[in-house]
């Protein structure tokens, strides 16, 4: 067993990237609210936007909207635009009403949208003003989830960056580890157990599950990105003295091993001890992936841009499930954070950044991949054309990180292929 990933034949780290401009079939950053509000249990997300924003959240949230959710939209009306009502006064009124109704809220995010950005409504000042008013009870922060500035998961990045800027300063001399990125609780717990077994501590998560438990940050903070879309958050943590541990993202047996290994090395953990701790999980992951391997191996896959998870997932499918990536599209390519991933992609993979959706679909039709990973606006139309698809959003909503989810992750890709083969209608 070799925990470190062997250097393969030259991958895609130096490959040219196709950059396209045109119509983009992607979500805006507001969508991040759907999973972020589940993670931070006493936070509320108030979007300042139009009916379109409210409609998007409702469409994306499916049935969650009815369980007295912790997000809402303050819909800008004509009165606000015509200057008949003062936007800031209106916002104060809405926030006061909201906090009176939900006194359990400890953290309120004012989330910017396209309309609020275009009319230059200064939500950061509003957040500062309201924070003073509600001091001691509710902290109020601001970030933008607008489509003009953020794509899908970049909404989480913007939110965590706002949190990171607001974290308490860590003045202790002891090193600490921070896991950055909202993970499902079950996955987070697995990682915390592994770090404890390795003897690494203290370990914090950003975001924490409650507003008052957000971790401190300082020059001795070492952080691991659990998600590939956290460029802005990383920059903010670096500004606060934090140092990123470079690693693959924790997808599959190899990715998870490398990710844990980066922390073990940084904290001077004995190599033999590291191996013995991760061995059971690593073996389990490999065994579980094996169930889907036969169906995936040799199959060609195209990723359309969605969440920035595309590159690490393509790496996982190529190196651990034997798939052949045809095109890997991503809304934004963070070269430094993805350097290790790119090096492991098979040479010849087409990397694309951005999108002109009609041209990209022409490429998909020409390549006829066995599986196309795409958004829900494209999945059924492509199925109707005879192409098998896997809808991408599920990869953001399902637990897929770590050893014990590696089998589930492979299965997410194997299932549509299996279904294609079993149906006789």
């Amino acid at each position: 067993m070799t925990p470190a990933v062997p250097a393969t034949t030259p991958g895609c780290d130096a490959a040219p990237v196709l950059r396209e401009r045109g119509q983009r079939e992607v979500f805006c950053g507001l969508t991040g609210i759907i999973w972020l509000h589940r993670k931070v249990q006493d936070a509320f997300f108030l979007v300042v936007g139009s009916r379109t924003c409210a409609h998007l959240l409702q469409s994306a949230a499916g049935v969650m909207i009815f369980a007295e959710p912790r997000f809402a939209t303050a819909i800008i009306e004509e009165r606000d635009l015509a200057g008949m009502a003062d936007c800031n006064e209106e916002l104060d009124r809405v926030v006061d009403r909201l906090l009176a109704r939900r006194p359990d809220i400890r953290l309120l995010f004012l989330v910017g949208s396209c309309p609020s950005e275009v009319i230059k409504l200064d939500l950061s000042r509003a957040a500062a003003r309201l924070s003073v008013k509600h001091a001691g009870v509710t902290k109020i922060l601001n970030y933008s989830g607008s489509g003009i500035e953020t794509t899908f998961t970049e909404g989480e990045d913007a939110c965590l960056a706002a949190l990171a800027a607001d974290l308490p300063a860590d003045t202790t001399d002891a090193p600490s580890l921070m896991i950055v990125g909202a993970l499902p609780d079950v996955v987070e717990d697995q990682f915390l157990r592994l770090f404890a077994d390795l003897g690494i501590g203290p370990v914090h998560s950003l975001p924490a599950r409650r507003a008052n438990d957000m971790p401190p940050v300082g020059p001795n903070t070492r952080y691991l990105l659990a998600q590939p879309f956290l460029g802005e958050t990383a920059r903010t943590l670096e500004d606060r003295g934090g140092r990123r541990l470079d690693a693959l993202f924790p997808f599959g047996a190899e990715g998870t091993t490398d990710w844990l290994h980066a922390a073990a090395r940084a904290f001077g953990i004995d190599e033999m001890h590291f191996r013995s701790v991760i061995a059971p999980g690593r073996e389990r992951a490999k065994r579980a992936i094996e169930h889907s391997r036969e169906r995936l191996t040799g199959k060609r896959i195209t990723f359309l841009p969605d969440s920035q998870l595309e590159v690490p997932l393509a790496r996982f499918l190529a190196t651990e499930a034997g798939m052949i990536p045809v095109e890997v599209g991503t809304p934004y390519l963070h070269r430094r954070h993805l350097a290790g991933e790119l090096a492991l992609l098979p040479a010849g993979t087409l990397l694309s950044e951005g999108q002109d959706v009609d041209r990209q679909l022409d490429r998909v039709r020409a390549a006829q991949p066995d599986l196309t990973v795409c958004g829900l606006g494209l999945a059924n139309p492509l199925e109707a054309e005879g192409l098998t698809t896997k809808w991408a959003i599920e990869l953001v909503f399902s637990p897929i990180h770590g050893f014990d989810q590696a089998g589930d992750l492979a299965e997410l890709f194997a299932r549509p292929l299996r279904r294609r083969d079993v149906l006789r209608v």
Binding site: S50, V63, T73, C114
Partner: protein, 520 residues
Amino acid sequence: MQLTVWTYEGPPHVGAMRIATAMQGVHYVLHAPQGDTYADLLFTMIERRGKRPPVTYTTFQARDLGKDTAELFQQAARDAYARFQPQAMLVGASCTAELIQDDPAGLAEAMRLPCPVVALELPSYQRKENWGAAETFYQLARRMCTATVPGARPDGGKPSANILGPTALGFRHRDDVIEITRLLDQLGIAVNVTAPLGATPADLARLGDADFNICLYPEIADTLCRWLERRFGQKTVRTVPIGHGATRDFIAEVAAIAGVDPAAALAPSNLPWWSRSVDSTYLTGKRVFIFGDATHAIAAARVARDELGFEIVGLGCYNREFARDLRDAAVLYGIEPLVTDDYLAVEAAIQGLQPELVLGTQMERHIAKRLRIPCAVISAPVHVQDFPARYAPQMGFEGANVLFDTWVHPLVMGLEEHLLTMFRDDFEFSDAGGASHLPSSRPAGGVGGGPVTAPESDETNPTLATNGGTWSADAERELLKIPFFVRGKARRNTEKFATEHNLATITLDTLYDAKAHYAR
């Protein structure tokens, strides 16, 4: 600003999309920021369309704002025309583009595209989805209808009608059209054009050739019908054929305008007999609350009182454009109308009235679920299950049959529920069985209450009723993190695995070893 969690209607440009998507040969170029493409999945997922909606979004981003978003718009329009070659093009702005004032109308006109281009003025901060659909339909038809006199009668001199109003994402529009077309055929009336659903711009140009119009969905077609009345002197059939009685009235109205004998179409539905049969006696005087778009709510009220014998205790709609019609209807039932687009007001009304049945939208379904009241859906907005594979019209005689079954079904279920609860302590009924169709949680207090908790059966206590090894405390805690609906399976698999491997204690590793073992 209006604090909103749930909105009954989308923005007006979604209404315009519903028209473009319903039609053939139309393409909509929408000046909109990145992200507004989310609306595509309403059509591809909820309605399960196998084609992308014919909409090109300019998807401008922040970096474009400093430059020329107008040029971006023209480029998108040029590319869309070249790629899709539409017969007609719609151009317009979404809520954000309305703020940056690029004037799609002027920009498109300057391009001199070789097809009719209709510029849509949809005020996003005042109006909503239905209004946007009605306005788009009207503007497009008006642009295509350049004739001033009707053309030749289609179909060998038979009287003919246009069926106006069915759209994409319309609640049961697909099957309503089939039902009404069949009725007209029985009456010997030809359908000149059905629009927007399935029509082309060229079809719209022929609207004047029909003898009269059927305004099937006033929310969508009313504006256009009024214009066609003025332009071609066509009469409009305004009875909405939802329910047995309303269908008969509709046939009478159609027959009178067309000058045909109504008898041919008066095939009876099953509703009258089903409703008169003794099994339905218990429906008498059941208190019902009705909410939806005005057309469906008003029609449902008539069916509920006159055809099922319910008592109407609440009637409301979310679309202000038709508030007057709804208020007039509420007078018939001697109740206060409720015209609001705030679901909390609807929830408060339902909570206050405590009806025995709620007829409403997807939102009322959830409110009713929370308050543990039986419920059926009668109006958009709806979820994917209300775009069914089976034939399920609301209109015509078959529609009446569908209404009877759909509305009575939750009540029978409710009765079953009640009996089960009554005999709950009976040895044959398990207390842990849970509800057959309602969550067995306590109502979560409605407004301001906590989230509705998932029904918990004996799965909360995994040591109960097990015989496959003892669970260690941390494994047990881990098991509780697994969603309740797969927890039972996980527990059984783990215990089976433990037995097979002769493990006395189930540890965390056992749990995950089993998970890997059974990964499928």
